[in-house]
């Protein structure tokens, strides 16, 4: 029996050690989103300027949907990247949309006055849109393709190295499959 134990115990330790090592290599706070590759949940939200934005109306364009708050430090870090994205892309190709998360409109306005950023910012006072997108903290950014599908979700601050190629490929898809995008938009 002792002979068996000499290999049974180390063998039993293998899966435990594998799990521990696997856990060390992953960020336990980042969860995979079931929305990636699925249709983005539709929403109709009011902007800070009193207009209304319906996601379905943006079909055919790439959408960078960014959940943020003025109290969130990483949101400050990524703000310049979003500014750059807003400046870089033609609004006909790609739009940046902010969703103010668990924040007052007043604080959000102060944040924008301080750091700039005049793309459209939406209000989600009941957080239903955030829940619809499976948001669990800020910043979280969804890259939505012209077909209305979530191509990628980023938890934490975005970088230009992520935004540029992701949006570029979605814009290319929008130009290449404009007709399909419009059909998908009409179908929903």
């Amino acid at each position: 029996m002792r002979k068996h134990l000499t290999w049974i115990l180390p063998l039993a330790a293998v899966p435990v050690l594998w799990l521990l090592l696997h856990g060390m290599g992953t960020d336990k706070f980042t969860l995979p989103s079931p929305l990636e590759g699925a249709a983005a949940p539709d929403f109709r939200l009011e902007t800070m300027d009193g207009d209304t934005v319906d996601l379905a109306d943006l079909r055919g364009k790439a959408v960078v949907l960014n959940f943020w708050a003025s109290w969130c430090i990483p949101c400050r870090q990524e703000h310049d990247v979003l500014k750059l994205a807003d400046r870089t892309y033609d609004p006909e190709d790609a739009v940046v949309l902010g969703v103010v998360y668990q924040d007052t409109e007043q604080n959000a306005r102060r944040f924008l006055a301080q750091l700039g950023g005049d793309w459209t910012h939406l209000l989600d006072p009941t957080q239903r849109t955030a829940i619809d997108f499976g948001v669990y903290g800020v910043p979280e950014t969804f890259f939505i393709g012209p077909d209305g599908q979530v191509a990628h979700k980023k938890v934490g601050p975005v970088t230009w190295d992520l935004v540029r190629p992701t949006v570029d490929s979605l814009v290319a898809a929008a130009r290449g499959d404009g007709a399909d995008g419009a059909t998908a938009g009409g179908a929903r």
Binding site: M1, R2, L5, I8, L9, A12, V16, L31, P32, S33, P34, L35, A38, P41, Q102, T126, Q127, R128, A130, I131, D132, F133, G134, V135, Y136, G137
Partner: protein
């Protein structure tokens, strides 16, 4: 010297088995049982209406099974996080609108993934989480029983040269062990 380390090694081996069984059992242990339902949440409707009471209880029961995305180890029923409060209100709303508890659960799973359920569903690969602890317990128990049986047959009372287990003790150490056992 050999004898003492031999006994220690057996004790360590037995302890290792117990620990292994405990570790293997950890995943199912981590899936907490829903905490007892609390009184109706703040989103509840008038308590005098039995239908509303039933709805409140159902919403509370369901909320106890959903993980708070912010605090993670609490259900949205227990959590005071703003997001949990909204999720709780949403659970209530959806049930009131006629959704079944399963439909509400699958809505949250479709948004947050299976992770949102405090208790993993009992299908697919999740069955491993539910089954492995019992398998580990059975295997560990069988090994432990076998070991204990062998050790007991090679005990001081009935130990002889033809014992199936070689204790590896030298004559001197065997004497020392016998004395130690006698003296307690």
């Amino acid at each position: 010297m050999n004898g003492r380390t031999g006994v220690a090694a057996r004790a360590a081996a037995a302890l290792g088995l117990v620990l292994f069984a405990a570790l293997a059992g950890a995943p199912a242990g981590a899936a907490q049982e829903p905490i007892g339902t609390r009184p109706a949440p703040s989103t509840g409707t008038a308590l005098t209406d039995p239908e509303a009471e039933r709805l409140d209880a159902e919403a509370a029961e369901l909320s106890a099974q959903l993980r708070c995305p912010v605090c993670r180890n609490q259900s949205i029923l227990e959590s005071n996080a703003e997001l949990s409060r909204e999720m709780q209100a949403l659970v209530h709303e959806r049930l009131a609108a006629g959704d079944s508890p399963e439909e509400v659960k699958s809505y949250f799973v479709s948004r947050y993934g299976e992770w949102i359920l405090l208790e993993p569903s009992r299908r697919g690969i999740n069955l491993l989480v539910w089954g492995l602890p019992f398998v580990a317990l059975l295997v560990g128990g069988a090994i432990a029983i076998r070991l204990l049986r062998r050790w007991s047959t090679s005990g001081p009372g009935n130990h002889d040269a033809s014992s199936p287990v070689d204790t590896g003790l030298s004559a001197e150490n065997e004497m020392w062990l016998q004395e130690a056992l006698r003296d307690g």
